[in-house]
Amino acid sequence: MDRSFLADPGVIRASRDFVCIRTATYEDKQEAKFLQQTLFGGGDQMRNFGFCILSPDGQRKLKQSRRGPNFAYRDANEMGTDMRRIARQYATAQGKPIQGLPQMKSVRLALNVASCDGLPCLVVYGNEPQRVEQLSRKLDSVIWEDELMGKYIFASTRQRADLKSIEGAGRSQGILLVAPNPYGTAGQLIEMIGGEVTAEELKEVLLKAAERYERPVKEHGNHVRYGRRNGVNWETEVDVPDRRRFNNRR
C-alpha cells in the first residue's frame, strides 16, 4: 500500500470532505465484482491494490488509477489539491455529516487490518441486535471527531465464537479494545468498555488508549519469511491470482 500519499497531512485534511472506503481485496465476492468493474477495467484479473475517486452516487469515475494514487498524481500535494477541487464541486450549504460505524466485515478481518495498519481494534459485542446497535451508536457519537478519526479499526458481532481469538475476552457485552498480534490472526484484550459509559467518558478512554498504544515495528521481508516458515496462512474468499501463480511455480 502506498504510504507517502495517504499519510500526507494535506490529503488527510482533504479526506474529511470525502467518504473514504478501503475495501480488503479478495475478501468479498460481491465487492470483487464491483472492484473488477470500477478499479480494474472489467478484466478478469484482480490486483492487490487499486485507487479511484467516484461521484457520490458511485457511478462516475472522477479520477482513476489501476494501481495506487502515485500513478494518478505526481505527488501528495497534487492529490490534496485535486481532492479539494473535487470536494468543492459537491459541497452544499447543508452538508450532512458522515454517521455510522466504519466497520470491517468481520472480527477476523478487522484484527488482520488493524495489524496491517498498526492500530488498535474496537469490537462491539452484544448478544442482541438492539444491544449491538446501541453500543455502535455510542461509538459513532465520538469517533468522527478530528482527534479520533483514523485511530481505530472497528468490527461488531453477536457471536461469542468470534471473540475466541481475543485473549482475555469474557462473556460480558460491551466494547472490546484489542491489540492485534503481529499477524492479525488473534488479539489481546486491552480494556473492556461497558455499555453504561457516557459519550464523554468513552471519548476520554479512546483518546488515552490511542495515546498509550505502542505500534509494533515490522519489516516486510522478515514478516513474510517468518510467517511462511511458521505456517501462518490467510484464507481469502476470492482467489488471489499472484498466489495461484506462486503455488504453481513450487
Binding site: 465487492e31 475517486i53 485511530k151 505500534r215 516486510h220 498466489r243
Partner: protein
C-alpha cells in the same frame, strides 16, 4: 590525397555540430524514463514500518477514517452527497496476513 583529406575534413566539419546531440541522446532517454512513473505493481515496503499509511510514526496519529465495507461507504456517500475516495488493498502478502 590532399583532396580526399580536404573532403574528409569537410564532412567532419559538417557532422560535428550534430555529434554532441547524438552523444547526449542516451542520457536524455534515461532522464525521460526516470521522470515518468514506473509501471510495475507497487513494490513492497522497504525497511522497518509501523504499518498502514503512517509507517514512520510510533504513536497512533489521526489519519484517514476508512469504511471497510463497500456497501456501507456507498450508502454514506449517497446520504451525505460527498464524493468517494475508494481504495482496495489486500491485507496479506503471499498469503501471510498482517502486512498490506
Amino acid at each position: 590525397m590532399a583532396l580526399a583529406t580536404h573532403k574528409e575534413r569537410s564532412i567532419m566539419n559538417r557532422r560535428r555540430p550534430l555529434f554532441p546531440a547524438v552523444r547526449w541522446l542516451p542520457v536524455a532517454c534515461l532522464i525521460s524514463c526516470l521522470s515518468t512513473p514506473a509501471v510495475a505493481q507497487l513494490a513492497p515496503p522497504e525497511g522497518p514500518t509501523y504499518g498502514g499509511s503512517l509507517p514512520a510514526s510510533k504513536q497512533v496519529m489521526p489519519g484517514i477514517a476508512w469504511f471497510g465495507v463497500l456497501q456501507d461507504g456507498l450508502k454514506q456517500a449517497r446520504q451525505t452527497g460527498k464524493p468517494i475516495l475508494l481504495i482496495s488493498a489486500a491485507p496479506q502478502c503471499s498469503g501471510v496476513p498482517g502486512m498490506w
